[in-house]
Protein backbone atom coordinates (compact mmCIF):
# COMPACT_ATOMS: atom_id res chain seq x y z
CA UNK A 1 0.00 0.00 0.00
CA UNK A 2 2.84 2.35 0.93
CA UNK A 3 4.63 1.50 -2.31
CA UNK A 4 1.45 2.17 -4.31
CA UNK A 5 1.02 5.47 -2.54
CA UNK A 6 4.66 6.40 -3.24
CA UNK A 7 4.08 5.63 -6.92
CA UNK A 8 0.95 7.75 -6.93
CA UNK A 9 2.83 10.57 -5.23
CA UNK A 10 5.58 10.39 -7.87
CA UNK A 11 2.92 10.47 -10.60
CA UNK A 12 1.24 13.47 -8.99
CA UNK A 13 4.59 15.20 -8.72
CA UNK A 14 5.32 14.64 -12.41
CA UNK A 15 1.85 15.94 -13.26
CA UNK A 16 2.48 19.04 -11.17
CA UNK A 17 5.81 19.77 -12.85
CA UNK A 18 4.22 19.17 -16.27
CA UNK A 19 1.50 21.65 -15.34
CA UNK A 20 4.15 24.23 -14.43
CA UNK A 21 5.88 23.79 -17.79
CA UNK A 22 2.55 24.11 -19.60
CA UNK A 23 1.89 27.30 -17.66
CA UNK A 24 5.29 28.60 -18.77
CA UNK A 25 4.53 27.74 -22.40
CA UNK A 26 1.16 29.50 -22.21
CA UNK A 27 2.68 32.62 -20.68
CA UNK A 28 5.60 32.57 -23.15
CA UNK A 29 3.16 32.56 -26.08
CA UNK A 30 2.95 36.34 -25.70
CA UNK A 31 6.48 36.47 -27.12
CA UNK A 32 5.17 35.43 -30.55
CA UNK A 33 3.34 38.70 -31.36
CA UNK A 34 6.18 40.67 -29.78
CA UNK A 35 8.67 38.94 -32.07
CA UNK A 36 6.43 39.46 -35.08
CA UNK A 37 6.24 43.18 -34.30
CA UNK A 38 10.00 43.36 -33.92
CA UNK A 39 10.54 41.49 -37.16
CA UNK A 40 8.27 43.83 -39.12
CA UNK A 41 9.58 47.03 -37.55
CA UNK A 42 13.29 46.31 -37.24
CA UNK A 43 14.01 44.01 -40.16
CA UNK A 44 16.71 42.08 -38.28
CA UNK A 45 15.49 38.48 -38.37
CA UNK A 46 18.54 36.87 -36.77
CA UNK A 47 18.69 39.31 -33.87
CA UNK A 48 14.92 39.12 -33.37
CA UNK A 49 15.00 35.31 -33.37
CA UNK A 50 17.84 35.26 -30.86
CA UNK A 51 16.22 37.77 -28.49
CA UNK A 52 12.77 36.20 -28.81
CA UNK A 53 14.14 32.70 -28.24
CA UNK A 54 16.02 33.80 -25.13
CA UNK A 55 12.97 35.70 -23.89
CA UNK A 56 10.64 32.72 -24.39
CA UNK A 57 13.09 30.36 -22.70
CA UNK A 58 13.48 32.75 -19.75
CA UNK A 59 9.73 33.10 -19.30
CA UNK A 60 9.21 29.32 -19.43
CA UNK A 61 11.93 28.63 -16.88
CA UNK A 62 10.86 31.42 -14.53
CA UNK A 63 7.18 30.45 -14.68
CA UNK A 64 8.09 26.82 -14.09
CA UNK A 65 10.16 27.87 -11.06
CA UNK A 66 7.23 29.93 -9.82
CA UNK A 67 6.78 32.14 -6.74
CA UNK A 68 8.63 35.48 -7.02
CA UNK A 69 10.40 34.32 -10.19
CA UNK A 70 7.11 33.66 -11.96
CA UNK A 71 5.76 37.05 -10.92
CA UNK A 72 9.09 38.56 -11.97
CA UNK A 73 8.68 37.13 -15.47
CA UNK A 74 5.24 38.74 -15.78
CA UNK A 75 6.42 42.12 -14.41
CA UNK A 76 9.47 41.93 -16.67
CA UNK A 77 7.27 41.41 -19.72
CA UNK A 78 5.13 44.36 -18.67
CA UNK A 79 8.16 46.55 -17.98
CA UNK A 80 9.60 45.64 -21.39
CA UNK A 81 6.42 46.65 -23.20
CA UNK A 82 7.18 50.40 -23.26
CA UNK A 83 10.69 50.06 -24.77
CA UNK A 84 9.30 47.48 -27.21
CA UNK A 85 6.39 49.56 -28.42
CA UNK A 86 7.60 53.16 -28.28
CA UNK A 87 10.39 52.95 -30.90
CA UNK A 88 8.21 50.74 -33.12
CA UNK A 89 5.23 53.13 -32.94
CA UNK A 90 7.43 56.16 -33.58
CA UNK A 91 9.04 54.47 -36.54
CA UNK A 92 5.68 53.50 -37.99
CA UNK A 93 3.87 56.80 -37.47
CA UNK A 94 6.43 59.63 -37.43
CA UNK A 95 9.06 60.61 -39.94
CA UNK A 96 12.41 60.02 -38.29
CA UNK A 97 13.68 63.42 -39.38
CA UNK A 98 12.00 66.73 -40.20
CA UNK A 99 13.61 70.06 -41.17
CA UNK A 100 14.51 70.97 -37.61
CA UNK A 101 14.30 67.76 -35.59
CA UNK A 102 15.49 64.18 -35.73
CA UNK A 103 14.03 61.44 -33.56
CA UNK A 104 16.76 59.70 -31.65
CA UNK A 105 15.76 56.10 -31.16
CA UNK A 106 18.45 55.67 -28.53
CA UNK A 107 16.91 58.47 -26.49
CA UNK A 108 13.48 56.89 -26.94
CA UNK A 109 14.83 53.61 -25.65
CA UNK A 110 16.43 55.39 -22.71
CA UNK A 111 13.15 57.14 -21.83
CA UNK A 112 10.97 54.06 -22.22
CA UNK A 113 13.58 52.06 -20.29
CA UNK A 114 13.24 54.52 -17.40
CA UNK A 115 9.47 53.89 -17.39
CA UNK A 116 10.00 50.12 -17.38
CA UNK A 117 12.71 50.38 -14.72
CA UNK A 118 10.45 52.46 -12.48
CA UNK A 119 7.73 49.83 -12.82
CA UNK A 120 10.20 47.09 -11.91
CA UNK A 121 11.56 49.05 -8.96
CA UNK A 122 8.14 49.88 -7.54
CA UNK A 123 7.09 46.23 -7.83
CA UNK A 124 10.24 45.05 -6.08
CA UNK A 125 9.89 47.62 -3.30
CA UNK A 126 6.13 47.17 -2.87
CA UNK A 127 6.30 43.37 -2.65
CA UNK A 128 9.64 43.11 -0.87
CA UNK A 129 10.94 40.85 -3.62
CA UNK A 130 14.41 39.34 -3.16
CA UNK A 131 17.36 40.27 -5.36
CA UNK A 132 17.44 37.17 -7.59
CA UNK A 133 13.82 37.61 -8.64
CA UNK A 134 14.41 41.32 -9.36
CA UNK A 135 17.41 40.38 -11.50
CA UNK A 136 15.32 37.80 -13.36
CA UNK A 137 12.57 40.36 -13.94
CA UNK A 138 15.19 42.83 -15.17
CA UNK A 139 16.58 40.27 -17.62
CA UNK A 140 13.09 39.59 -19.00
CA UNK A 141 12.40 43.33 -19.32
CA UNK A 142 15.71 43.83 -21.13
CA UNK A 143 15.04 41.02 -23.59
CA UNK A 144 11.45 42.18 -24.21
CA UNK A 145 12.58 45.78 -24.67
CA UNK A 146 15.44 44.78 -26.93
CA UNK A 147 12.91 43.44 -29.44
CA UNK A 148 11.83 47.05 -30.06
CA UNK A 149 15.07 48.89 -29.33
CA UNK A 150 17.10 46.87 -31.81
CA UNK A 151 15.62 49.28 -34.36
CA UNK A 152 18.34 51.68 -33.18
CA UNK A 153 21.09 49.06 -33.15
CA UNK A 154 23.60 48.86 -30.32
CA UNK A 155 22.86 52.43 -29.29
CA UNK A 156 19.24 51.50 -28.65
CA UNK A 157 20.16 48.50 -26.56
CA UNK A 158 22.60 50.56 -24.49
CA UNK A 159 19.91 53.22 -24.04
CA UNK A 160 17.42 50.58 -22.95
CA UNK A 161 19.75 49.06 -20.35
CA UNK A 162 20.72 52.48 -19.04
CA UNK A 163 17.04 53.47 -18.83
CA UNK A 164 16.04 50.35 -16.95
CA UNK A 165 18.89 50.91 -14.51
CA UNK A 166 18.07 54.58 -14.07
CA UNK A 167 14.39 53.85 -13.49
CA UNK A 168 14.85 50.99 -11.03
CA UNK A 169 17.97 51.92 -9.08
CA UNK A 170 16.64 54.87 -7.04
CA UNK A 171 13.70 52.82 -5.80
CA UNK A 172 15.86 49.79 -5.00
CA UNK A 173 18.42 51.96 -3.20
CA UNK A 174 15.64 53.60 -1.19
CA UNK A 175 14.41 50.17 -0.12
CA UNK A 176 17.86 49.23 1.19
CA UNK A 177 18.13 52.50 3.01
Amino acid sequence: MAAAEALLQARARRAYETGRVLLGLRRASVVVPMAALSLVACGRPAATALAAGMLAASVIVLEWRGEAFGRGARIGLLAGTAPLLLPVIVRATVHACSASFCVSYSALCLASGVIGGALLGSWAVGRGVHGQAVAAAGAVASLAGSLGCMVAGVGGLVGLLAGLGLGATPLLVTRRG
Binding site: A15, Y16, L23
Partner: protein
Protein backbone atom coordinates in the same frame (compact mmCIF):
# COMPACT_ATOMS: atom_id res chain seq x y z
CA UNK B 1 -13.41 18.07 6.05
CA UNK B 2 -13.73 20.54 8.91
CA UNK B 3 -13.43 24.31 8.57
CA UNK B 4 -9.79 24.39 9.73
CA UNK B 5 -8.81 21.69 7.23
CA UNK B 6 -10.64 23.54 4.51
CA UNK B 7 -8.78 26.77 5.25
CA UNK B 8 -5.48 24.90 5.38
CA UNK B 9 -6.21 23.32 1.99
CA UNK B 10 -7.10 26.76 0.59
CA UNK B 11 -3.79 28.17 1.76
CA UNK B 12 -1.71 25.17 0.68
CA UNK B 13 -3.28 24.95 -2.77
CA UNK B 14 -2.78 28.70 -3.29
CA UNK B 15 0.90 28.32 -2.39
CA UNK B 16 1.26 25.28 -4.64
CA UNK B 17 -0.42 27.14 -7.49
CA UNK B 18 2.10 29.95 -7.10
CA UNK B 19 4.96 27.44 -7.38
CA UNK B 20 5.80 26.71 -3.74
CA UNK B 21 6.88 23.04 -3.85
CA UNK B 22 6.86 22.81 -0.04
CA UNK B 23 3.05 22.80 -0.25
CA UNK B 24 3.01 19.65 -2.39
CA UNK B 25 3.01 17.09 0.41
CA UNK B 26 0.36 18.77 2.60
CA UNK B 27 -1.97 19.05 -0.41
CA UNK B 28 -1.33 15.43 -1.38
CA UNK B 29 -1.95 14.21 2.16
CA UNK B 30 -5.18 16.21 2.44
CA UNK B 31 -6.61 15.33 -0.95
CA UNK B 32 -5.94 11.60 -1.26
CA UNK B 33 -8.37 10.43 1.47
CA UNK B 34 -10.87 13.13 0.52
CA UNK B 35 -10.98 12.12 -3.14
CA UNK B 36 -11.13 8.45 -2.24
CA UNK B 37 -14.17 9.01 -0.03
CA UNK B 38 -15.79 11.11 -2.74
CA UNK B 39 -15.17 8.51 -5.46
CA UNK B 40 -16.30 5.54 -3.33
CA UNK B 41 -19.69 7.23 -2.88
CA UNK B 42 -20.37 7.02 -6.60
CA UNK B 43 -18.40 4.06 -7.90
CA UNK B 44 -17.65 0.52 -6.80
CA UNK B 45 -14.21 -0.70 -5.57
CA UNK B 46 -11.52 -0.66 -8.22
CA UNK B 47 -13.31 1.91 -10.40
CA UNK B 48 -13.52 4.28 -7.42
CA UNK B 49 -9.82 3.91 -6.65
CA UNK B 50 -8.90 4.53 -10.30
CA UNK B 51 -11.15 7.58 -10.49
CA UNK B 52 -9.76 8.97 -7.22
CA UNK B 53 -6.19 8.57 -8.45
CA UNK B 54 -6.96 10.10 -11.84
CA UNK B 55 -8.68 13.02 -10.13
CA UNK B 56 -5.71 13.53 -7.81
CA UNK B 57 -3.25 13.57 -10.73
CA UNK B 58 -5.51 16.02 -12.63
CA UNK B 59 -5.66 18.32 -9.60
CA UNK B 60 -1.87 18.46 -9.50
CA UNK B 61 -1.63 18.89 -13.26
CA UNK B 62 -3.94 21.90 -13.02
CA UNK B 63 -2.73 23.22 -9.66
CA UNK B 64 -0.87 26.06 -11.38
CA UNK B 65 -4.19 27.32 -12.82
CA UNK B 66 -5.83 27.48 -9.40
CA UNK B 67 -7.20 30.93 -8.64
CA UNK B 68 -6.78 31.63 -4.89
CA UNK B 69 -10.01 33.67 -5.00
CA UNK B 70 -11.94 30.44 -5.63
CA UNK B 71 -12.81 27.87 -3.00
CA UNK B 72 -10.13 25.15 -3.09
CA UNK B 73 -12.43 22.35 -1.94
CA UNK B 74 -15.11 23.12 -4.55
CA UNK B 75 -12.49 23.44 -7.26
CA UNK B 76 -10.96 20.09 -6.33
CA UNK B 77 -14.29 18.29 -6.09
CA UNK B 78 -15.31 19.75 -9.45
CA UNK B 79 -12.32 18.06 -11.07
CA UNK B 80 -13.07 14.83 -9.18
CA UNK B 81 -16.72 14.90 -10.24
CA UNK B 82 -15.66 15.13 -13.88
CA UNK B 83 -13.33 12.15 -13.44
CA UNK B 84 -16.10 10.15 -11.76
CA UNK B 85 -18.50 10.91 -14.60
CA UNK B 86 -15.84 9.77 -17.06
CA UNK B 87 -15.27 6.56 -15.06
CA UNK B 88 -19.02 5.86 -14.96
CA UNK B 89 -19.32 6.32 -18.72
CA UNK B 90 -16.34 4.02 -19.23
CA UNK B 91 -17.92 1.47 -16.91
CA UNK B 92 -21.21 1.69 -18.77
CA UNK B 93 -19.48 1.08 -22.09
CA UNK B 94 -17.64 -1.90 -20.63
CA UNK B 95 -20.95 -3.37 -19.54
CA UNK B 96 -22.40 -2.93 -23.00
CA UNK B 97 -19.45 -4.67 -24.60
CA UNK B 98 -19.84 -7.50 -22.10
CA UNK B 99 -23.50 -7.63 -22.98
CA UNK B 100 -22.58 -8.22 -26.61
CA UNK B 101 -20.51 -11.28 -25.74
CA UNK B 102 -20.12 -13.22 -22.54
CA UNK B 103 -22.90 -12.11 -20.24
CA UNK B 104 -25.58 -14.44 -21.57
CA UNK B 105 -23.35 -17.39 -20.74
CA UNK B 106 -22.61 -16.03 -17.27
CA UNK B 107 -26.32 -15.70 -16.56
CA UNK B 108 -26.78 -19.46 -16.69
CA UNK B 109 -23.54 -20.28 -14.92
CA UNK B 110 -24.35 -21.39 -11.36
CA UNK B 111 -20.75 -20.63 -10.35
CA UNK B 112 -21.04 -16.97 -11.42
CA UNK B 113 -20.29 -14.36 -8.76
CA UNK B 114 -23.13 -12.24 -7.33
CA UNK B 115 -21.78 -9.24 -9.24
CA UNK B 116 -21.85 -11.17 -12.55
CA UNK B 117 -25.37 -12.34 -11.80
CA UNK B 118 -26.44 -8.75 -11.08
CA UNK B 119 -24.89 -7.54 -14.33
CA UNK B 120 -26.62 -10.34 -16.24
CA UNK B 121 -29.95 -9.41 -14.63
CA UNK B 122 -29.43 -5.75 -15.61
CA UNK B 123 -28.67 -6.84 -19.15
CA UNK B 124 -31.77 -9.01 -19.32
CA UNK B 125 -33.87 -6.11 -18.17
CA UNK B 126 -32.29 -3.82 -20.79
CA UNK B 127 -32.92 -6.37 -23.56
CA UNK B 128 -36.52 -6.87 -22.43
CA UNK B 129 -37.05 -3.11 -22.47
CA UNK B 130 -35.58 -2.84 -25.96
CA UNK B 131 -37.76 -5.73 -27.21
CA UNK B 132 -40.84 -4.16 -25.66
CA UNK B 133 -40.24 -0.99 -27.63
CA UNK B 134 -40.23 -2.91 -30.96
CA UNK B 135 -43.38 -3.65 -33.01
CA UNK B 136 -44.98 -6.83 -31.56
CA UNK B 137 -44.31 -8.83 -34.74
CA UNK B 138 -40.57 -8.04 -34.59
CA UNK B 139 -40.40 -8.88 -30.89
CA UNK B 140 -42.16 -12.21 -31.48
CA UNK B 141 -39.80 -13.04 -34.36
CA UNK B 142 -36.70 -12.31 -32.29
CA UNK B 143 -38.00 -14.30 -29.31
CA UNK B 144 -38.66 -17.25 -31.59
CA UNK B 145 -35.20 -16.87 -33.13
CA UNK B 146 -33.60 -16.78 -29.66
CA UNK B 147 -35.36 -20.06 -28.81
CA UNK B 148 -34.20 -21.52 -32.16
CA UNK B 149 -37.81 -21.87 -33.27
CA UNK B 150 -39.60 -20.87 -36.48
CA UNK B 151 -43.32 -20.05 -36.42
CA UNK B 152 -45.46 -22.55 -38.29
CA UNK B 153 -46.42 -21.51 -41.79
CA UNK B 154 -43.50 -19.09 -42.26
CA UNK B 155 -41.00 -19.97 -44.97
CA UNK B 156 -37.32 -20.14 -43.87
CA UNK B 157 -36.27 -17.31 -46.23
CA UNK B 158 -39.13 -15.10 -45.00
CA UNK B 159 -38.27 -15.85 -41.40
CA UNK B 160 -34.60 -15.03 -42.03
CA UNK B 161 -35.57 -11.67 -43.53
CA UNK B 162 -37.86 -10.91 -40.60
CA UNK B 163 -35.06 -11.78 -38.16
CA UNK B 164 -32.64 -9.48 -39.99
CA UNK B 165 -35.17 -6.65 -39.94
CA UNK B 166 -35.92 -7.26 -36.27
CA UNK B 167 -32.23 -7.27 -35.33
CA UNK B 168 -31.66 -4.05 -37.27
CA UNK B 169 -34.54 -2.38 -35.40
CA UNK B 170 -33.33 -3.76 -32.08
CA UNK B 171 -29.84 -2.43 -32.76
CA UNK B 172 -31.25 0.98 -33.62
CA UNK B 173 -33.35 0.98 -30.47
CA UNK B 174 -30.35 -0.11 -28.38
CA UNK B 175 -28.21 2.62 -29.90
CA UNK B 176 -30.84 5.23 -29.13
CA UNK B 177 -31.21 4.11 -25.53
CA UNK B 178 -27.64 3.16 -24.63
CA UNK B 179 -25.55 5.12 -27.09
CA UNK B 180 -23.77 2.13 -28.65
CA UNK B 181 -24.48 -1.02 -30.53
Amino acid sequence: MDQAGRLRLQDDLARLGAGDRAAFHPVFAALLPLLRRFAYRSLPGADAEDAAQEALVKVFLRASEFDPMRDALSWTLGIAAFEIRTARRRRGRRREVDADSAQLAVQHDPAASPEDAAIAADLDAAIDAALASLPPADAATLRAFAMSERPAGVAPATFRKRVERGIARLREQWRTTHGRR
